[in-house]
């Protein structure tokens, strides 16, 4: 990952509607605004709930931005694009 790259971790709960909506929304936003500059890890807490402890996850879906620092956290299905862009400190393009 380049120094300006985004390291994102999305916590989901199997195939709940909000989880799959969050996955789709995140991919779409990243492709549109961070093309080639992001790395997404999807963590399914249905498979291993204990992983919630690592980033102190309570609500699902939750997106954690590990890089660039500081660590940021967005709770919800990421359907509000503008808020996600603000939360991730991404200047809207276009």
């Amino acid at each position: 990952m380049a120094s300006e790259g985004y390291n994102l971790r999305l916590y989901v709960a199997g195939q709940t509607p909000k989880s799959i909506a969050a996955i789709a929304n995140l991919k779409k936003i990243c492709d549109a605004h961070l093309a080639g500059r992001y790395d997404i890890t999807i963590v399914d807490l249905m498979k291993d709930p204990a992983l919630a402890q690592r980033d102190q996850i309570v609500a699902i879906p939750t997106l954690i931005r590990h890089l660039p620092e500081p660590l940021k956290r967005i709770i919800g299905d990421l359907s509000n694009v503008e808020k996600v862009l603000v939360g991730l400190d991404i200047a809207p393009t276009g």
């Binding site: 199997g14 509607p17 799959i20 309570v58 609500a59 940021k72 808020k83």
Partner: protein, 479 residues
């Protein structure tokens, strides 16, 4: 941070409060609970959990596609079918799942109408593509409009269709082939039979042993493969397990009793090249054998006729030479008699030596004087053995008439014939309008030949008369 959906670790807003707000907004649908020393995920819309489990575990592939054609969810069965992990597919365009002839509504995603659409396409996967049937229909996931897609593996169905086509083709071949063809299992029992096979043996042969329905008799031939002399059961096993090629046999009974067949057998192999029985063919060569026998008879007959003809030529040459005073006279007489022989062979060849119509022979033999010969009689078919003698007699009569008789002037010849019961032909040659006949004392070779041929070759009688108004020849011989 003032935005209620966002927070960082330095935020003063407790995460629990933000979580509750998010739940109220309806943007989360699961929470992590820490109880009794372990973490547990609790879904807030748990009513659909059984369906999610069902979809995840169903034997068909399933996925959900967003409004803009992005894969949002894929079950493990479909991931397995595609040979990739679910993570590698989720978030990718739906059309990327397929290869080859991908429908345009997949390439440029068009959400399916109510009732859904179905296409048969190739699922892209490492190595060989997988033929699949894809059904897509609209659904609502929470408050998101999406499409539900099911993907069914068509490999088994395609294989079954291929087998069914091959089966139909094989059945069609067996029904239409004109020779008896049988498929035997490894024990020598008939498991398939052509329609011709059933017709020949006169009973449904399937399920019976080969030797039960086909009793074969060997055909004694030198330098040819022979039918093995073994008990019927052993022969069935040999047919099922060994290759045979072109053994001539006859059927002992049934509708084709006495007919000659060529028996051949070859192994029937499965996909693994293991023998699972044999294919036995019985090619009916009865007509061919008959033709071969007829050919042998014809060759023998031809030899016989050639020898006879040479003997006749020899005799004519000897007699003509004896009565000729010069080589010129010999050449003329001998040449004319050879032409008569040639005419006889010509008309016989036309009818394949099956007899010749009398007027046909007269027409050919008397061609130079066709306009001066009058014929009177019913159509009569002369047997082939009478043609050469008759041709020679006609030649002698015509030559004599042309030199001394009615054809030497402006006269004509009247020819009449009729049958004398039961099988005697009465044939009369009368010359009219020619010069007056002088006293006939010297008998020429022509007259001698006519009388000898009539007596020996036609087994009949001949009367030659020389009244003053013209020669008369009466022949009476069996036909």
């Amino acid at each position: 941070m003032s935005d209620p959906g966002l927070m960082d670790d330095t935020s003063l807003i407790p995460e629990a409060e933000e979580t509750i707000r998010a739940i109220h907004r309806g943007s989360v649908d699961a929470v992590v609970v820490h109880a009794q020393g372990r973490f547990q995920v609790v879904t807030l819309t748990g009513a659909d959990e059984p369906y999610r489990v069902l979809v995840e575990r169903m034997s068909e592939g399933a996925l959900t596609v967003s409004e803009d054609g992005i894969v949002m969810y894929i079950n493990s069965r479909l991931a397995h079918m595609a040979g990739r992990s679910a993570d590698a597919i989720i978030g990718r365009p739906f059309a990327d799942l397929f290869s080859g002839n991908v429908p345009p509504q997949y390439r440029s995603w068009t959400p399916p109408p109510e009732g859904g659409t179905r296409h048969e396409v190739d699922l892209a996967r490492p190595g060989k593509c997988l033929p699949v049937s894809v059904w897509a229909g609209p659904i609502t996931v929470g408050d998101v409009s999406a499409s539900l897609v099911t993907v069914s593996d068509l490999t088994v169905q395609r294989r079954a269709e291929e087998i069914a086509i091959a089966e139909r083709f094989a059945r069609s071949v067996l029904e239409q082939v004109t020779d008896p063809i049988l498929v035997l299992d490894n024990a020598g029992r008939i498991i398939r039979a052509s329609a011709a096979a059933e017709e020949v043996c006169g009973m449904p042969p399937v399920g019976r042993r080969f030797s039960e329905v086909f009793r074969l008799q060997p055909v004694d031939l030198q330098h040819a493969p022979q039918l093995p002399s073994v008990p019927p059961n052993d022969f069935d096993l040999m047919l099922a397990t060994r290759a045979f090629h072109g053994i001539e046999v006859k059927l002992a009974d049934g509708r084709a009793a006495g007919q000659t067949f060529l028996l051949s057998a070859g192994p029937l192999l499965d996909d693994a090249k293991c023998s699972v029985g044999s294919i036995v063919t019985l090619t009916d060569i009865t007509k061919r054998k008959h033709a071969e026998e007829q050919q042998s008879v014809m060759v023998a007959e031809l030899n016989h006729r050639v020898r006879n003809t040479l003997a006749v030529v020899q005799a004519i040459a000897d007699q003509t030479a004896r009565r000729s005073s010069s080589l010129t006279i010999f050449n003329e007489a001998f040449g004319g008699r050879l032409r008569a022989l040639s005419i006889a062979h010509g008309v016989l060849t036309k009818t394949h030596w099956n007899g010749v119509e009398l007027t046909e022979l007269l027409g050919e033999s008397l061609a130079p004087y066709r306009d001066r010969v009058r014929l009177q009689g019913s159509p009569i078919m002369l047997p082939s053995q009478t043609i050469v003698p008759m041709a020679l007699i006609l030649h002698e009569l015509m030559t004599n008439a042309a030199k001394y008789g009615s054809l030497s002037t402006s006269g004509h010849v009247q020819i009449d014939w009729e049958m004398d019961y039961p099988n005697l032909l009465l044939f009369t040659w009368v010359e009219c309008g020619g010069p007056r006949v002088q006293d006939r004392k010297k008998t020429g070779f022509g007259s001698t030949l006519i009388e000898r041929v009539a007596a020996h070759e036609l087994q009949g009688e001949c009367t030659l008369e020389f009244p003053s108004d013209g020669l008369r020849c009466k022949l009476r011989f069996p036909i």
